[in-house]
Symmetry: C2
Subunit: 150 residues, 2 copies
DNA sequence: TCCTTAGTGAGAATGATTCTCAGATGCACG
DNA sequence: CGTGCATCTGAGAATCATTCTCACTAAGGA
């Protein structure tokens, strides 16, 4: 179904899963991830994939989320009501995410952790090995909606 | 027991709890928080307080952690094995935390989210309302320990 | 001192996530 | 193309951090 839609360098549905095996369930889950567009919980992803492909178990969705995260295709972007939120991650260069708390859309942002912060950490005796940065806010549409609601 | 140890502006044991009531259990919990020094889970805090003050329930510790967090005296600094890590927060000006993954010590760091990042978010149509930043690394002692272990 | 109400402890409940297990199936290799 | 086997799957049980319930106690303002 995709023979001539994409150049060879653009994987059509699959390669959110790195090296691991590509089953029918995982193909459906990858499709659902793409259709959701923004941030989602594992349960929401399960609901989305179930709408078009019945019979996929929730454990399979959790395992797929873990596999996609390990492959770097998914990134955790906070939590909602005790459930972890995930979003499709562009990959490539190092970056972080800005999540609309209204609709869940996500955009990549450049990393604000710079040499000056790292050197001030170093002067406190620390070697920084990792960091987490996530921004939250409202996209234009959600901000407009919130404004007219007064 | 603290009549003349501190000037009036330095609360002796209590005021991690903002405006709320100061019970014996909460006094003991505040003391345990101080004795732990670094990052801790609710269970670890419960164990620490239980060592010196038997009979305090785990639910009370969870409630105390929530109260201290609401008062701004405690900040979440990541998680370990599925449990949230908390640390005493200096309060005052806006800052974030750098946690030693070896021993759990925490230091405050200046906020790296600057106007340029916010304006690039704005040019993407987003209004930023909140952000989370946490750094992880090794303190001098833990780095030395890791180095000699080769 | 009294009263109101927030805080407490024990245990049950909740709920997200992980695990177990027997069966199915990608896919590398010949 | 087969075959073999490691990986994946679905159902349900299990785990376990955190929250809730409830009867009771005790801050602390009046
Ligand atoms: Mn990304
Ligand atoms: Mn702090
Ligand atoms: Zn970064
Ligand atoms: Zn900040």
């Amino acid at each position: 179904m995709s023979e001539h839609h994409h150049p060879v360098s653009a994987p059509c549905a699959g390669d959110l899963f790195g090296g691991s095996r590509l089953s029918a369930a995982r193909r459906a889950i990858a499709e659902a991830v793409r259709s959701l567009g923004g941030a989602f919980t594992a349960e929401e992803l399960h609901a989305a994939v179930s709408a078009t492909h019945a019979g996929i178990g929730v454990a399979t969705v959790y395992r797929a989320v873990a596999a996609m995260s390990a492959a770097g295709a998914l990134a955790p972007v906070g939590s909602r009501d005790g459930s972890t939120l995930y979003a499709l991650c562009a990959g490539g260069d190092h970056h972080h995410h800005l999540v609309c708390t209204g609709c869940g859309t996500v955009v990549g942002i450049e990393c604000p952790v710079d040499g000056s912060l790292l050197s001030s950490a170093k002067s406190a005796g620390y070697t920084v090995t990792a960091h987490e940065v996530t921004l939250y806010g409202l996209c234009a549409a959600c901000a407009a909606c919130a404004a007219e609601r007064d």
